[in-house]
Symmetry: C2
């Protein structure tokens, strides 16, 4: 996973944003349970990190719990929601309507967080015109016109590797501000466009690395 | 994304493993181009990191380039392959055969890296018996017998949130050594099982955070 960004966001590290995302999820859960207050200890417990880290993260955004009482669940949830940009809806265009693209379109979790995949594009005549949930796959040649009409905020790239940079260029020309890339290659985008790359094989590899390492360290361990 | 692990793997950080995965991909590309040598500078360029970082990462595993010549592509590729545990095949069971599960089964990239999803399970009678690529979705009640027969190395959890911990317990009882969790909740597993959680919404949220932050910092900027 990698991200490129201008100076504005550089002060907040990616792991911090990931922790904020997780605090947000914990807060939603706790709120659903009807609780009004939450301690940094509880937020830390759920995340497997220290309560000091929680307090540090939250103080960075000007949110301070009250000693012995903790944080107001609803207030903190609303604050983090705004920080993460989840207090609005985001229009997302999908470029590449294969299996991965289809799964993303059909995944209900994104819409629940404010990310609406509102259009899907492909260049394969066999896919153009097919239904994908509530969408109809459009010819990628229609992308620019659709972008002008719909003002997509983000693009998701789920094309084959060879088409990924072209898709990114198209998305940038169409005015998106962020790109989520699932194609396993490095993309080049201008500095004003946020880019994040997701390679699902890497997730498996971190597991195979850990299992392999664990086994070989066992073999090296002297008996007794 | 989070990982838990025993002491053996704790010395190598997750970002290091992710960089190794990426070096491996660059090496495959460069090898396909017919090149025999690669500089740390080239490996760094592709990754957007410093060549000093590349040399540090690789020296950790005892691999040293020759000054002015660089690294032997094939040798280094084979070394990293073994370190990541990619010199063998991994048997993966899928628990939860919905949209996300289906996309993972149909994604060709995993098999190319040695991760074979060899069985898929669900508890929904509407899904049991359905074809998913080359697989037939099995009743989750058959998981234990299948695990005893097939010795799954890993499990992928793509169930709804409420079924995720139960699925993890089942996978652990079935003897898997690693779990890749796509359900947006924290799972508890014993220390000898590697666990990694992937929440796709978080990827969107890191983008919305960056775009929001960039915009609000522009608003705050004084004119002129």
């Amino acid at each position: 996973m990698s991200a490129r960004r201008g100076p504005a966001a550089a002060r907040i590290s990616e792991p911090t944003v990931r922790r904020l995302s997780h605090y947000y999820r914990v807060l939603l859960e706790v709120e659903a349970e009807g609780k009004r207050l939450i301690s940094s200890h509880r937020l830390a417990e759920r995340e497997g990190i220290t309560s000091a880290q929680v307090r540090k993260d939250l103080s960075m955004f000007g949110s301070f719990g009250r000693r012995g009482l903790g944080y107001q669940v609803r207030h903190l949830r609303e604050e983090i929601r705004a920080i993460l940009g989840l207090d609005r809806r985001w229009k997302v265009a999908l470029l590449g309507a294969g299996n991965v693209g289809a799964a993303l379109v059909l995944y209900p979790g994104f819409s629940a967080q404010g990310f609406d995949i509102v259009a899907a594009f492909d260049r394969d005549p066999g896919r153009i015109g097919q239904r994908l949930g509530a969408l109809t796959v459009q010819d990628v040649s229609e992308f620019q016109a659709a972008a002008a009409r719909e003002s997509f905020d983000m693009a998701v790239i789920t094309t084959p590797v060879r088409a990924a940079q072209e898709a990114a260029d198209l998305a940038v020309a169409g005015g998106v501000r962020g790109i989520l890339n699932f194609a396993p290659r490095k993309l080049t985008v201008p500095g004003h466009v946020a880019l994040r790359s997701v390679d699902m094989s890497v997730e498996f590899e971190t597991l195979s690395f850990e299992i392999t390492r664990e086994r070989s360290s066992r073999r090296r361990r002297p008996p007794g």
